[in-house]
Each structure stands twice: as structure tokens, then as C-alpha cells.
């Protein structure tokens, strides 16, 4: 059973076909990087998989549970409660962190598990402190997001996503708003998670990182998947477009 399985997703904005026909699956413990030029549909794919965007056609299943079905060329979404359940399987880390500025670091991490997942407060707080230690910010529990650097904010955002105990964690260009030094902070955390066999899908422009950390790399262009293979295979691809794109790095 795949953690997430996507079949033949299509998505257009007005007359632009952003996703033409995308199918992929991710298995437990896999780290998959999605690379490709701007406008290739990487982020839209992630947004469709996380219900932030509705797809026009195609199906989507989490843990074998098909919450979006393709019926007569159109996507049909399951009931709200059903989708709510599917949303519990994944976490998402945003390019711009999107921490809640009026909550301190600890509350950013614990608010959703306590109030939305109705979990025990003491237990959630203990886990949150462990997560903060893991991302190297155990001294920042009481700080507010405005007091943190970009790299620290993103590490809190990762801890916030992990506190929900997702089966799969999506990253939407997690380092694009950061300078090279801070980028390394984030990449270290992601590598650590990969070593712990966290299932992850990472949309990124960090080619070298994608190569090191991924089990599979997906190269997208113009709403299509051009490559979907082990990193060494993708980097050795004979496809002209792939070579042209990778050659720039």
C-alpha cells in the first residue's frame, strides 16, 4: 500500500494547463524530490495533493483510501469528513514558513495537536520540546516568531508539522526564502529526518541536496513528469531536456 498515490491529475488555471497528466506514488520511508524549472507545476502538484488546490481530473488516495476519484473525466471529492481524515495523513512545510506570529514557538507547535487533534496537553508539550531539541531550538520555546531568523522559523515550522505525527511530510521549496547558510540548517534537519526513515516529498531547487538525500528524483516540466527514477539515473539521463536543466547546476 502506497502512502500517497496520485493518478492522472490534470489542473488548469484559466487556459493554462499547469498539470497535464501526472501520476506518482510514494511508499513508506521514501524520500522523493521534485525538481524542475519555475512554472513546471511542482508546487501546484503539491497543492493538489494537500487539498489547497482542487484538481480538474485525476484521483488521489492516502493509505489506499481514494478520497478523490476520477469520474467521467472529472475529479470527484469525497465528503468533508472523509477529506478531513485524509488530511491527517500529511504535513506541509511552506516556503514562507507561515508560523502564527501571535503564538510563541511552543504554542505554534502544540496548538493544533491539542485543539484540533484533541490530544493530551502535557504529552503534546513534552513531545513538542523533544521536537524542538531535535531541530536544535530547545532554548526558543518561549520566543515569538518575529524574534527568530528565517532558518529558525523554518525549523519551527518543520517541528510544527511533525507534531501532528504525519505519515508523509511535504516540503514546498523549504529553503527558497533563505540564504545559503540558513539553507544548510534546514537541509541538515531534512537529512536527519531522512535517516530516521520519515516519508518525505520535497519540492526543491537544491540539486546537490536532492541528489544526496533522495531515494527518487522526479523531474517535471510543463506539467509533465519527464523523469522519475533513482538520483544517479536521473543525473545520468540521456533525455535532452533533463540534461539541459541539470547542466545549469
Amino acid at each position: 500500500m502506497h502512502i500517497v498515490e496520485i493518478n492522472h491529475i490534470k489542473k488548469s488555471f484559466d487556459d493554462t494547463e499547469v498539470l497535464q497528466d501526472i501520476s506518482l506514488f510514494v511508499d513508506k520511508g521514501e524520500v522523493v524530490s521534485i525538481i524542475g524549472p519555475s512554472g513546471s507545476g511542482k508546487s501546484t502538484l503539491l497543492r493538489c495533493a494537500t487539498f489547497l488546490e482542487t484538481m480538474d481530473d485525476g484521483s488521489l488516495a492516502y493509505m489506499g483510501d481514494e478520497v478523490v476519484k476520477s469520474v467521467n473525466g472529472h475529479s470527484v471529492y469525497a465528503s468533508r469528513d472523509h477529506i478531513r481524515k485524509a488530511k491527517g495523513y500529511f504535513g506541509l512545510v511552506f516556503q514562507n514558513f507561515e508560523l502564527f506570529p501571535h503564538f510563541n514557538v511552543l504554542r505554534n507547535i502544540t496548538d493544533a495537536p491539542i485543539h484540533n487533534q484533541k490530544r493530551d496537553k502535557a504529552e503534546v508539550e513534552r513531545e513538542a520540546r523533544e521536537l524542538l531539541e531535535k531541530v536544535g531550538l530547545s532554548d526558543k520555546a518561549d520566543a515569538y516568531p518575529c524574534e527568530l531568523s528565517g532558518g529558525q522559523k523554518q525549523r519551527v515550522a518543520i517541528a510544527r508539522a511533525l507534531a501532528m505525527k504525519p505519515d508523509i511530510l511535504y516540503f514546498d521549496e523549504p529553503t527558497s526564502a533563505l540564504d545559503p547558510e540558513l539553507t544548510q540548517e534546514i537541509l541538515r534537519v531534512i537529512k536527519q529526518l531522512a535517516a530516521e526513515k520519515m516519508t518525505m516529498v520535497i519540492v526543491t531547487h537544491e540539486m546537490q541536496f536532492a541528489r544526496e538525500v533522495s531515494d527518487r528524483i522526479i523531474f517535471m516540466e510543463k506539467g509533465l513528469i519527464i523523469e522519475n527514477d533513482r538520483p544517479e539515473k536521473v543525473f545520468a539521463s540521456t533525455n535532452e531536456r533533463t540534461r539541459q536543466f541539470l547542466g545549469k547546476f
Binding site: 489547497l52 506541509l92 514562507n96 507561515e98 502564527f100 506570529p101 501571535h102
Partner: protein
């Protein structure tokens, strides 16, 4: 007229002014929310009605609105009003007018919250109502507070427009007393009153702003 009488009458006017001020805020702050929700509604008819409403309220003098609301029932519908209606007309006119301004302030506040905040809340399983009350509203409140302070301070002074329909608040009383005693003393006293009232309002608002300064957006 002795000084005690003058002070007593000014004091009564002062209480009336405070009453206008408080009641206007009590009605216009929530009403502004309704107008804002109508203004940003997906229903184009409702949205346009609210746009026109806001345009009229902001585009015409408050004094004119006050006079229309006070005399309207008689001149338009031939309904004679009781003396008590004078005070009611003041509250209606001020509330309707200020609600339009507050609606626009709310709109700027909600409009300034990045879409990503809603998306983060959605991904983290926040319900629609918790997203609104726990995530969005506190940030909006912090952002709009300086604008609200401006309006509230203007309101303190605008209460004197009630003079145009001879409602016996602070300014109307002071003007009448000055005319009766042939000096500007009562008007000066009124000026001091407005000044002190606004100083208190500004102090309270600054305290509230400070209570939210532990974070920045």
C-alpha cells in the same frame, strides 16, 4: 446665572456626550463587521449594496446625515416624532456613519493577512471558526488598532455635531450657556472637556496597543 448652575448643566451635557460616544461604539463596531462581510460577500448584489452604502456614508457630511435621519420621518413620511427621538436619531446617524468607516478598516485588516496563514491553518486541521477566531482575528485586531484609535478620537469630537439638531450634549449646552452669560467660559470649559476626554481615550488605546506589542507581524 451662578457658577453652580453652569457647571451642573455642563456636567449633564458631558454625560450625554459620553453616552453618545459609548452607544455609537457599541452599535457601530459590530455593525461594521456586518457591512464588511456584506462588502466582501461572494453575492454581487449584496457586495454592491454595501459598496454604495459605504460610498454614501463616507461621501456626504455626517451633519447632513444626522439632519436627514432626524427630520426624515416627518418630511419624507409625514410621521411626527417624539422629543425622545432626538437622542435616538443621534445614535442612529453616528452608528450608521461610523460603521461604514469601521467596515473599511476591517477590510484593510483582513486583506492584509497573507493567504498562507489560512493555508497553514487548513493543513494543520483548524476548523473554519477556529481559523477565524484563533488565527486570523487576533492578527487583524493588532493591525487595525491604530486606525480604530483614529476613528474613536474623531468620534469624541464629532459628537458635537449633535448641535445641528439641538440635542443637549456638551457642545450644545456650552453654546447656549455662553450665549446666556455673554462670555466664552462655558465653551472653553467644553474645549477642555473634549481635550481631556480624548487624552484618556488615547491613553487607553495606547495601553491596548502596548498589550499586543509582544509580537510583530
Amino acid at each position: 446665572m451662578d457658577i453652580a448652575t453652569i457647571l451642573l448643566e455642563l456636567g449633564q451635557g458631558m454625560l450625554t456626550t459620553i453616552q453618545i460616544f459609548v452607544l455609537t461604539l457599541v452599535f457601530s463596531l459590530p455593525l461594521g463587521f456586518l457591512i464588511y462581510f456584506g462588502r466582501v460577500s461572494k453575492n454581487p448584489v449584496l457586495s454592491w449594496i454595501m459598496r454604495i452604502y459605504i460610498a454614501i456614508m463616507r461621501g456626504t457630511p455626517l451633519m447632513l446625515q444626522l439632519i436627514v435621519i432626524y427630520f426624515g420621518p416627518y418630511y419624507i413620511f409625514g410621521v411626527s416624532t417624539t422629543p425622545a427621538y432626538r437622542g435616538i436619531a443621534v445614535i442612529i446617524a453616528f452608528s450608521l456613519n461610523y460603521a461604514a468607516y469601521f467596515a473599511e478598516i476591517y477590510r484593510s485588516g483582513f486583506g492584509s493577512i497573507p493567504q498562507g496563514q489560512y493555508e497553514a491553518a487548513e493543513v494543520l486541521g483548524y476548523s473554519k471558526s477556529r481559523t477565524f477566531f484563533a488565527i486570523v482575528l487576533p492578527q487583524v485586531w493588532k493591525r487595525i488598532l491604530p486606525s480604530i484609535t483614529n476613528e474613536v478620537i474623531t468620534l469624541v469630537k464629532d459628537t458635537s455635531l449633535s448641535f445641528s439638531i439641538a440635542y443637549a450634549e456638551m457642545f450644545t449646552e456650552a453654546k447656549a450657556l455662553s450665549a446666556a452669560v455673554h462670555n466664552v467660559g462655558p465653551l472653553m470649559a467644553a474645549g477642555v472637556f473634549y481635550f481631556v476626554f480624548n487624552a484618556i481615550v488615547a491613553w487607553i488605546m495606547a495601553r491596548i496597543e502596548k498589550s499586543m506589542s509582544y509580537y510583530s507581524i
